[in-house]
């Protein structure tokens, strides 16, 4: 299990990185944390002609927190985001989800933006980008532009980004007022790929009644999706809302696949269970924040 031969560059600026990507053509691939890419290379599921390592590019390792949201640079490791209290204060889903990303040793190296660019349906942060209605910034030789999550994710391990480009950051909008979040997974071993995971956001109205409920799932479907579960519990007082009904609704909305780890039916069952469980937690948090 060794990677096939490739060429390697570790440019010192973003412009140089884009220049190398342009010069090396379609077979070139960006390397950041490498925690998903290196296994693909070793298993020879991917054989890029050139790796462009962006780890020496300055300015990509910052987490910027404003009232509007959190911007995560392409070289921010999962563990750095996990321990960023300011980021968690503005968007609590970031710390809650990164705590479920792989094992600590992998979080030390793997990057949040890298796992988004990898677009694995079993990735946590792809779901969180969708659930928070986030976007990524894509740098190309002709300039940088923001791409919303709906336009970014195209298929499993596939994004709308083609040609010489580097995803330089991801933006996660702030949690709205009177809202709470929760994130939970079922995995064979803590830190392994989730058989099923769920992230939810519950928003209450001024009278502490349920105003809006949204959920996004991990390892369910081929690209991240956000499901609106509001109709199952709309207008109900937060303390007596029937979260199981929202879980039942979620089961009818998802379209999971069967694989070696779980059947589609089992995944659908987990969607219901995790939805009910996380919504209760998120609602309690929303009630606390609305008080």
């Amino acid at each position: 299990m060794k990677p096939a031969p490739f060429r390697y560059a570790d440019p010192g600026t973003l412009d140089e990185a884009l220049a190398v990507l342009s010069a090396e053509g379609e077979g070139a691939k960006v390397l950041a944390g490498g925690q998903s890419l290196l296994p693909l290379l070793s298993m020879r599921l991917a054989a890029p002609t050139t790796l462009v390592d962006i780890n020496r590019v300055p300015g990509l390792d910052a987490v910027e927190v404003t009232d509007d949201g959190v911007t995560v640079g392409a070289l921010v490791r999962h563990n750095a985001l996990l321990s960023d209290d300011a980021a968690a204060g503005v968007q609590p889903l970031l710390a809650r989800a990164t705590a479920n990303v792989a094992h600590p040793a992998i979080r030390n190296r793997g990057t949040t933006v890298g796992s988004i660019a990898h677009a694995d349906p079993s990735g946590e942060m792809t779901s969180v980008l969708a659930l928070t209605d986030g976007s990524v910034t894509v740098a190309t030789p002709s300039g940088s532009s923001a791409v919303g999550w709906r336009d970014f994710f195209v298929g499993p391990l596939e994004t709308s980004v083609h040609g010489p480009a580097v995803v330089t950051s991801a933006f996660f909008p702030a949690l709205p007022a009177r809202s709470g979040t929760a994130f939970a997974e079922v995995a064979r071993r803590k830190g392994d790929y989730a058989v099923c995971g769920a992230g939810v956001v519950v928003t209450l109205d001024a009278g502490r009644r349920v105003e809006r409920v949204r959920a996004s799932y991990v390892s369910v479907g081929i690209t991240p999706e956000v499901h609106d579960l509001t109709e199952a519990v709309a207008g109900k007082p937060v303390d007596s809302a029937d979260w199981a009904a929202a879980g039942a609704l979620a089961r009818t909305l998802v379209d999971p696949d069967t694989d070696i780890h779980a059947s589609a039916d089992y995944r659908r069952l987990l969607v219901g269970v995790l939805t009910e469980r996380t919504l209760a937690d998120a609602a309690a948090e929303a009630a606390g924040r609305a008080a």
Binding site: M1, K2, P3, A4, P5, F6, R7, Y8, A9, D10, P11, G12, E16, A17, A19, V20, A23, E24, L31, G34, Q35, L38, P39, L41, S42, M43, T50, L51, D53, N55, A102, H103, P104, A105, I106, N108, R109, R189, K190, G191, D192
Partner: protein, 172 residues
């Protein structure tokens, strides 16, 4: 300036406190560079795709999977392998790291294949925490949860983590 695009590179790094140099194909994994180019066979290579944790080493003090890094990526960095955990004593010998001592004490290894990865991971985990603070089972699970052991059933490994933490606390 244009970045150079190479198929082979000469890297310099510090391994277990010793400056080392190696010329490697750019596709060489760090795990293989440590074993084949630098002769440090204490780092064990299990699954080679980041699942088993046997190849875990410390890069600039943090545990990472050495099979999920390229050797060229540690150019200029500091790497600690299992061989670097023991310290020289004043009589020309070596004294085991408290985690190594605890593994021996608690019978936390059987075949020993996974042990280097556990030792580096736990050593870094315990060195980063306040050893006087209570060590919860959840914290221990999180610390060793990324390492597979097929012999012990983990009970004695977890016991060793507590044992080592207590020894490190008492030594402070």
């Amino acid at each position: 300036m244009t970045a150079s695009v190479d198929t082979e590179r000469t890297i310099t790094l510090t391994v277990n406190g010793v400056p080392r140099e190696a010329t490697v194909p750019v596709r060489r994994l760090l795990s293989d560079a440590l074993r084949h180019d630098l002769g440090l066979t204490g780092t064990h290579v299990g699954c080679e795709h980041g699942v088993c944790g046997a190849c875990t080493v410390l890069v600039d003090g943090d545990p990472v999977r050495s099979c999920l890094m390229l050797a060229v990526q540690v150019d200029g960095h500091e790497v600690t392998t299992v061989e670097g955990l023991a310290r020289d004593d004043s009589r020309g010998g070596q004294v085991l790291h408290p985690v190594q001592e605890a593994f021996r004490e608690c019978h936390a290894l059987q075949c020993g294949f996974c042990t280097p990865g556990f030792l580096t991971t736990i050593a870094a985990g315990l060195e980063k925490r306040d050893n006087a603070a209570e060590l919860t089972e959840e914290e221990v699970d999180d610390m060793v949860g990324g390492n597979l052991c097929r012999c012990t059933g983990y009970a004695n490994i977890k016991k060793a983590v507590h044992h080592a933490n207590a020894a490190m606390r008492d030594a402070q």
